[in-house]
Amino acid sequence: MKPVTRRRVLIGLGSGAGLLVVGVPLALNAGRPAIVDYIEENGTGPQDAPRNPDLWFEVTPAGVTFFVPKIEMGQGIHTALAQIAAEELEVTPEQLTVRQADTARGYAGGTMFTFGSTSVKALYRPLREAAATLRELLREEAARQLGVPATRLTAAGGSFFVAGSRERIGYAQVVAGKQGEWVIPEATPALKARREFKRIGRAMPRTDFRDKVLGTATYGYDARLPGMLFGAVARPPRFGARLVSASAGAAGRQPGVVRVVIDAGAGFAGVVARTRTQARAALPSLDLRWEGGTTASSADLDAQIQAGSGSVLRRRGNVRAALSGGTVVQGEYRTPLAAHAHLEPLAALADVKAGGRIEVWASTQYPQMVIDDLRDVFGKDREVLVHPTQLGGGFGRKAGQHAALEAARLSAAVGKPVHVGWTREEDLQHAFYRPPTHHVLRGSVDPDGRLRGVEQFTAGGDIIWGQTGIPEFVRDALGFDPGGLLGQFMPYDFPAYRVVNRREALPVPTGYWRGLGVLPNTFALESFMDELAHAAGADPLAFRLQHLGSGEDGRRLRGVLERAAQAAGWGTPLPAGRARGVACCLDLGTASALVAEVSVQEGRVQVHRVTVAVDPGLVINPDGARLQAQGSVMMALSSALHEELTIQDGRVVESNFDRYRLLPMRDAPPVEVLLVESGDEPQGMGEPVMGPAAAAVANAVFTLTGERLRTLPLRPGQG
């Protein structure tokens, strides 16, 4: 790939007639409509094919193809972005072919990074602008070809219709008949008003799912090339262990082994074989000596994660005075180390041409990281082409994975394409994890049931700092990890509040996990809010509503709380042995409130029914939004009820799903999702709903049994 330039080019004409390529680099942070900026910056007219575009369209006689710059990991992003594009393009879903952008048709260093529930939010406006601009380009040209004023043309269903006549011309025909230069409209075309939407806000068939039911979708683990071989890579016995010496040992003589590849300085030892089974079987025959690393255990990590000091993140009112009166409540909460457990383990296929291009197909959320990895090893100027595949789940883990580099090292050594697919054991034991957290809360309520103040201490392992090369002294100077801030603050209105946060670099790798801090923090804060409600002798729902402010946040939280409570029948009688709990959360612009109905049998929590109301501002695809919310609730319940990784002697104990339990079908309750739309802009949908489930369940257990469970996973009767 050519060096990254920031030269902004809007239009490229394909070789030969009948192809219009529009690539749109975005200045997403610009205050003005992004599209105006680069048109001004670059002028108009026929130009080179776009480089580093964020958005890429091709119009051919076969129709319009949209190369989606975001990675599909099940969140339905290809579908959501396709319907946003189709809205302004005025094409039907059938007329729009959706393809994953590779790094030649997308800007790996920017928009392709798929994380943090940002995709729809960030692209909602620029994508509509780009699609509208493409439509207007076509309209001008259609008008020229038909010899009518552009104002007489109406776009619909991939064609322009001439007002007052039966004449029409399809987009493909316009492109085929094009002569001369394309003229980019002077100004960004006006975007449709919400009431004019035909696609946004409606259900639309998923663009990725037909291939999935046919078994023909290509995930990273499925990438194949003729003549390919399979690789396996040795892993350290402990976190942080270094490879001090390495030789092939007897590995080279094992059945099917093609090559042993060792770069001890880089800590790399791997095997290429004819089959995956052979490659893995040969690994124990390598002669490797590892040294050092941590011998920490879970108890050591817990001892390191101690809330009580750190950076003051928020201070309002006089907390000391507030806590010196009223009824004082204290609670101390912990959440454990947890795994992503995306069902498709890490995987990549690499084809390294000697001295030439490196091409990889990888299950990655972050193509730029793959490029950086490869260039670090193979040279700064090396041409790299990354094809992101479908992802069998990501949850943040696939934003930081090096399987593509492993496959490339092996491929370079044998001169053939090599695939590396991790085993579940590798995936659980050699990953980075959701860091453990500790929360110490003190609060006080007045005799009249008003919350006087809260003092909050939080500690957690690094999240974003854990996955970036930022030196420890800088992290230390900042004092907190930005990832830990998600869900960090109580969204209620009360006089005195002090929040003190502390981060720790743990000897076990920690990092991004779906929603970052939102699940641990919301578990602690919304459990504590419940404790305060009970101390005030108030109904937990009423207590929350009473403490919401009159601003936008308060209004939206009130909306979802009331909606969920009403649908769940809050306050109505339940069968004996059941209770309800409520919790809410405001995260990444999305408000959610959840009511869980639970029972406890033989020390096990059973969740019978969940009702969750979600307000993401504006919903692009209601079916997709519901799936995201249900999926978040199930994953949060899995954390609430089951998931915990144990560290012993510097290793993860749980190596597979027999010990690391995920929520199974039989424990999955019906989850009713109520969508509330209180805005004109879409907000995050992939993670915010990870927040409220754990606290709602713990709160229900308290109502039922009187036992306050303050540690995840929730284990009644065990403190």
Binding site: M73, L214, G215, Y219, R224, L343, G393, Q630, L663, M665
Partner: protein, 152 residues
Amino acid sequence: MQLSVNGRRREVAYPDELLVWVLRDELGLTGTHYGCGIGACGSCTVLLDGQVARACLTPARAAAGREVTTVEGLAHGEQLHPVQRAFLENPLQCGWCLPGHLMSAAALLERTPNPTDAQIKEAAGVNLCRCGGYNAIRRAVARAAELKREDG
């Protein structure tokens, strides 16, 4: 050794390897997924003579002389199997678990054309869905039973 996969005879060079890798890596049938290798996630579920089997626990040799059906063999030409149509109507998220749910459901409907919700849950057994699509899976399997009855 030969295997009969989705009605075709296929030559297999590594009969002692596990069926999941023979299908995926040798025969190119990547629709059967791997998630755990210990029979604990169901992603690798295939049918052996119509019975569900975990391809990650089954040596390829053990499938010799039996009919292996994978997700790629569910449809008849353009005509999708009712379970496929039902999941198209009730999609999940990433779909890595999907072949397991499709194959388990296909086997369930053969023996139990009108499954109750409890039977649907029971048949899913260990089949996990990390994306949490369990509600959709239950709806899809119930819908598949309807579609299958309509097909006659």
